[in-house]
């Protein structure tokens, strides 16, 4: 019985049969309920059948056709497999596969590197906590401590050249010096502004490592934007999970009169927060081509809701006939709204097929951008008259600067979107505008960190 299968040799006169079997394999593999091991099993079967049929006098082609036909309707077979293995219909993220794929580093080694970096970031933050006693020094230095470990992961993962790393060490060192050497007034606003803007600069440096030094190219830049969105989602999920775990532990330990608050402040948080960022980066890298991006899905859900929210806000603002309390909080609020709209736009752009024709969602996005710009225009007019009356402060300038950048970014996006909807411009123009503008935010943040202190007397 089985001995006849020896006739099927991979090479020799059966080249055509091998191609046919390869095609059949790739067709079967498209059924998600049928795993690669099942395909191996079925291929063995197919070959056995072909061998027996050729032994009865059929040629390869005929034998293959009959064997495939005898295998039955693959959709029905796949349905049976799905009934048996319902878990296969859900994509699972295998972080440490049993059998490492050839050519790449063993998965456990990556896990070891990630854990080492996560712990390293924790130790660095812990050292910073011990070394600096005041809050503002700490606030300035914690991102500085975490960023190198995250960047280190990508240096390891992408085998980034040492020239790129060395070139990045210069701005990193400058940033560290500026943040720690400037004679800031304790609890002044310039020091807070510097601490808030420094992470943006650091993130841009991480981005250069992420793209392997090819920071001028547009596509890798969009990849980094996608990575950022997914990282935010994954770190949020990790934070929620960690919060639940800590809450349960704290509640249980409080029953025996143990308070974990001190341990939480001095040990758990310094390790958990940077660790979550590094581990989150690893998860996003691992799931990249396995699990769909979630950020674009969230934008789909929130774009209509945000549009409604903004339109209602606009009507209320206009109806109120002037803003009663124009403070810098208003500017920060407007910045936050524009940032939200920008993220909604950026992440749906990042996932959209550039070649698809304009659809209703693109129209909705235009409405969203227009509404955001209108709301911002109302707030900005009120704010500018206010500033003209009472003069500038560092906070107002920083908020106003960001607002202007967002305004330019969104206004041009709106124009390009309109051009696309009227089929005057390709969608690619909108995508390029997004990636081209992103570094401007890093430059602005660097400017705030470096120049605001001296300009406003470190107040």
């Amino acid at each position: 019985m089985a001995g006849q299968e020896e006739r099927v040799e991979p090479a020799g006169g059966h080249g055509r049969l091998e191609t046919q079997i390869d095609q059949w394999r790739s067709y079967v593999q498209r059924h998600r309920a049928i795993s690669p091991a099942d395909v191996d099993e079925m291929e063995d079967h197919l070959r056995g059948r072909v061998a027996d049929l050729t032994a009865t006098g059929l040629d390869d082609d005929e034998a293959f056709l009959v064997a495939v036909r005898r295998m039955g309707n693959l959709d029905a077979v796949s349905r049976e497999f799905a009934r048996e293995h319902s878990e296969r219909l859900w994509k699972q993220l295998v972080l440490v596969p049993d059998e490492p794929s050839e050519g790449s580093a063993p998965a456990w080694r990556e896990l070891a590197v990630v854990l080492a970096l996560a712990v390293g970031a924790g130790i660095a933050v812990k050292v910073a906590l011990a070394a600096f006693d005041t809050d503002s020094v700490l606030l300035r230095n914690v991102p500085l401590m975490t960023a190198p470990f995250l960047a280190g992961y990508f240096v390891w993962k992408r085998r980034v050249s040492w020239r790129v790393v060395a070139a990045l060490l210069v701005p990193y060192a400058l940033l560290a010096v500026v943040l720690n050497v400037y004679p800031y007034v304790e609890n002044g606003s310039t020091v807070v502004l510097a601490a808030v803007h420094a992470p943006v600069v650091l993130w841009a440096l991480v981005g250069v490592v992420y793209v392997g030094g090819r920071w001028r190219a547009q596509d890798p830049r969009m990849d980094f934007a996608r990575f950022t969105g997914e990282l935010v989602v994954y770190v949020t999920l990790l934070a929620i999970g960690g919060g639940v775990l800590l809450g349960l532990t704290a509640a249980t330990l409080s029953l025996v009169g143990v308070d974990i608050e001190p341990a939480m402040e001095s040990w758990i948080m310094p390790f958990a927060v940077p660790g979550a960022v590094v581990v989150g980066a690893w998860l996003v890298e691992a799931k990249q081509d396995v699990v769909e991006n979630i950020a674009p899905v969230l934008t789909r859900v929130f774009t209509p809701l945000t549009t409604v929210m903004l339109l209602v806000t606009l009507v209320v603002l206009l109806g109120a006939g002037g803003l009663a309390d124009v403070e810098r909080e208003l500017l920060i609020l407007m910045d936050a709204i524009l940032l939200l709209v920008l993220c909604l736009l950026l992440y749906s752009v990042s996932a959209r097929d550039s070649l698809a024709r304009p659809g209703w969602f693109d129209g909705l996005q235009l409405v969203l951008v227009a509404a955001a710009l209108a709301v911002d225009a109302v707030a900005l007019t009120a704010m500018l008259t206010r500033i003209a009356e009472f003069g500038f402060s560092p906070n107002k300038v920083a908020a106003l600067g960001l607002n202007l950048l967002l305004l330019v970014h969104l206004a041009r996006s709106g124009l390009l979107l309109l051009g696309f909807l009227r089929e005057r411009r390709p969608f690619g123009a909108l995508v390029r505008w997004q990636t081209r503008f992103l570094p401007v935010y890093a430059v602005w943040a660097a400017f705030v960190v470096v120049a605001f202190g001296p300009v406003f007397g470190f107040a």
């Binding site: 099942d38 191996d40 099993e41 039955g72 309707n73 029905a76 077979v77």
Partner: protein, 126 residues
């Protein structure tokens, strides 16, 4: 001969278990054994055997191991477990009852067809 889908489904499990009771085997060989035993009158859709084997494996009635074929390819072998042997014995009993009942009912149906009609029975059921 075409078999009703439900009948194939019902008989497939005891048949596969029975073939594996003869000794360890693999997918294609099991199918060939089915054809051989039935003299070619029973032919399954080949692909459907595999989900069935996987279900038996999940239920613990068979164990699967990866080996290599004579041509040096990966091949999955199946062997009956103790639980599988018990299940087979149980199915065997059930099927012999079914077969026995069917035999009897067909024999009496044949006799009834040969003998003259007896309306009294019909009345009794009414």
């Amino acid at each position: 001969m075409r078999f009703d889908k439900d009948l194939v489904a019902a008989s497939a499990t005891p048949l596969v278990l029975g073939i594996l009771a003869e000794g360890e085997s693999y997918g294609y060989a099991i199918l060939k054994r089915v054809t051989e035993l039935s003299g070619g009158r029973m032919q399954w859709t080949d692909g459907m055997l595999y989900p069935l084997l996987h279900r038996l494996e999940r239920l613990g009635l068979v164990v699967a191991t990866w080996g290599t074929s004579e041509a040096g390819r990966r091949r999955k072998h199946y062997a009956l477990t103790a639980a599988g042997r018990d299940a087979l014995a149980e199915r065997q009993e059930q099927w012999s009852v079914v077969a026995d009942v069917l035999q009897q009912v067909w024999r009496s149906a044949q006799q009834a067809a040969q003998a003259p009609a007896r309306p009294a029975v019909a009345e009794g059921w009414a």
